[in-house]
Symmetry: C2
Subunit: 151 residues, 2 copies
């Protein structure tokens, strides 16, 4: 790997060491879990390639790899919802990143216009059937995605 | 897919519908973000295959697919740290699951013995170098993993 990060080392270095050695998957991506700094709620899960992770660290703003558009993605570039990163952590096996963010504009992080992406509950304690009904949490859109992204 | 879940439908059904239609990746897995119910902190990121997701929904306990051991994994079966799920949510494009859990025993969720897996901070606001130093958060192990899992 020719990027800015250390290559993954031994099991002990990865888990207990104090050098960042991110373990990108076979697709070149690492999972990024995004928490709203004010509420502490998980608001989105996205993916970073090496460049996105490097840009997030360097600029302190959320950059991702869009798997659907197959391109580097500066969150908020279109919608104005730039995310300022207040803290970044890495997990035990260094294959997941956790960031806390303050989001500009309406504060929405989801492309559906909502604060976060987890706006439906899955009921627990029943044998799942093919029509398992979700329950809306009441998180309503803060902006109209059609007006921002087009219809 | 012959499992218990609805197959992914249209874009609108996936994003705004009220039927669970989980979108497993090419590897058959979906990301599961685990939050400690009491603190609200993200404590781990794991993976579920169809069977693990179905078992988690049915039993209300955390089941995963271990990518390293390549086997279904009832969290806590070895260590006693069974996770009781208090809430499950699914994200906008139904390719990530968010659960809140109450964890038995010491309350540790990480195999290193710690409460959570995110025990190291990544400093923000500098151009990343190959030896980017991590900062311990002070989350110390709650149990000795060698005593539980073997050395």
């Amino acid at each position: 790997m020719s990027g800015p990060f250390a290559a993954p080392g031994t099991h002990a270095e990865i888990e207990e060491g104090l050098v960042l050695m991110p373990r990108f998957g076979a697709d070149g991506l690492i999972a990024a879990i995004v928490v709203d700094d004010a509420s502490g709620d998980v608001v989105m899960v996205a993916w970073m390639n090496e460049e996105a992770l490097a840009k997030t660290i360097e600029t302190g703003e959320g950059w991702y790899w869009s798997r659907s558009r197959k391109e580097l993605w500066h969150k908020g570039a279109t919608s104005g919802h730039v995310q300022t990163v207040t803290e970044m952590r890495v997990d035990c096996d260094q294959d997941a990143i956790l960031i806390r963010v303050v989001t500009a504009g309406t504060g929405a992080n989801c492309h559906t216009g909502r604060k976060g992406c987890f706006y439906r509950r899955v009921p627990i304690g029943q044998k799942p059937a093919s029509e398992l009904a979700l329950e809306p949490t009441g998180d309503d859109p803060l902006f109209d995605p059609k007006a921002v992204y087009g219809g």
